[in-house]
Symmetry: C2
Subunit: 244 residues, 2 copies
């Protein structure tokens, strides 16, 4: 499609990828695993700031993130836009394109990244023959729907500081499950992008960060975050019931 950079066809094997347990069904025999190797023939590198696909692009492939960090965003005709998620290694991009054979959001790399290209026709074909793959793929899509319900809850019913606390906890949990520190990480996105995702202005994001720091919950220096009081953040997210 509109690949900024595309590696020459690399022989790529899911069966010995160390992200396997993040993007593929687990508990398969070695033999079963090899049938998954048919899924991915190529990888693609995307430089920071470049787009993997944009709204309107015709849909052909899904992308599994091998390394790096992305945001997805939708735009309304009148120029507003909304970040719909931040994606990291092991997560799948492009599902939005299946419904109409065209993408409905932009996927933009927030750092130099690499993705596995999964031609959708092949995914359909292999999952037709290989039931665990079909089952797993359905689960991935279902979980994405559930995740979005969570975002709707956040956007529809939480206040600014609650949203930011929930956001930090979510990041922390995802870093943890990838073997990184739960309490110390570098944000890949700007305050404006966080604000767009959380439905608030960048100044409000900045003030909430400062407030958390004043309260001893985190320490923040630009993009570097250290969580000092995980339980305290959790209390902020969950305190609405107490407050009302």
């Amino acid at each position: 499609m509109n690949a900024p950079v595309s590696l020459p066809h690399l022989r790529v094997a899911c069966s010995n990828c160390n992200l396997r347990e993040l993007c593929l069904p687990v508990g398969l025999s070695h033999e079963q695993l090899e049938s998954l190797d048919e899924l991915v023939y190529t990888r693609k590198r995307i430089k920071r700031g470049d787009t993997l696909f944009r709204s309107g692009d015709s849909f052909a492939s899904l992308y599994a993130i091998r390394s790096g960090f992305f945001k997805t965003r939708v735009a309304s005709p009148d120029g507003r836009d909304q970040v719909t998620g931040f994606q990291m290694a092991g997560e799948l991009l492009g599902i939005d394109g299946i419904g109409t054979d065209a993408h409905h959001c932009d996927a933009i790399a927030l750092e130099d990244s690499e993705v596995c290209v999964i031609p959708y026709a092949r995914l359909e074909e292999v999952s037709q023959r290989f039931e665990p793959l079909q089952r797993h793929f359905h689960k991935v899509m279902s979980r994405e729907i559930v995740r979005e319900h969570g975002v709707m809850l956040l956007l529809g019913s939480m206040r600014a500081e609650e949203r930011l606390a929930a956001f930090l906890l979510n990041l922390s949990q995802r870093f943890t499950s990838r073997g990184y520190s739960a309490s110390e990480f570098v944000l890949r996105m700007t305050r404006e992008e966080i604000g767009s995702f959380l439905g608030m202005k960048l100044e409000t994001v900045s003030r909430a960060f400062s407030k958390f720091q004043d309260d001893g919950l985190i320490s923040v220096q630009q993009k570097h975050i250290r969580i000092a009081d995980l339980a305290g953040l959790r209390k902020i997210v969950g305190q609405a019931g107490a407050a009302c």
Copy 2:
């Protein structure tokens, strides 16, 4: 599961259901259509106010709405809740359960309704043999994801009146595609439920309705809505670009 009412097993055929074009793949031969009849063995009636499933229920089936009207909502541990959508005839409920074999939201009938019960194991099995069904099901899930992106855009970036206008236009469009009037309909949900869905308080919903009426865009009398100026509503949704 926790069916409030369940009809005795009724022989039910997708192949001569008049909602076919809404929930199933189109362009199939009569013979192909009959293979879909395996999907649905039973229907279930749900009375207004009763729940079809609730968060935590173990997941076994999807439900295609044959008639009636539902809302789905998620709840946070601290008692907040968020309506995640309103569903009408031809739409599918329960997809949220696939990912973890348990439901993550409640589905509540807003009027006496009837659904077709689609055992998920059967759906998987039939779609394993019958490619157009698999393809169609993927499209349905993908479109749900895209719909939710739209809701995120609405919640994250629109102001109260823009949200309500977008909501009315969305309802109007869905009624139209079911053969009902685009400009005159009865709301099945309360102001509070609209507000929960749109991320605002019921008073704000009510005030926005009144404002639209004062401006000649709609006439509203309790749950009865008549849209007088469709273009005017569209202008409200899309005017952010102009305003900034």
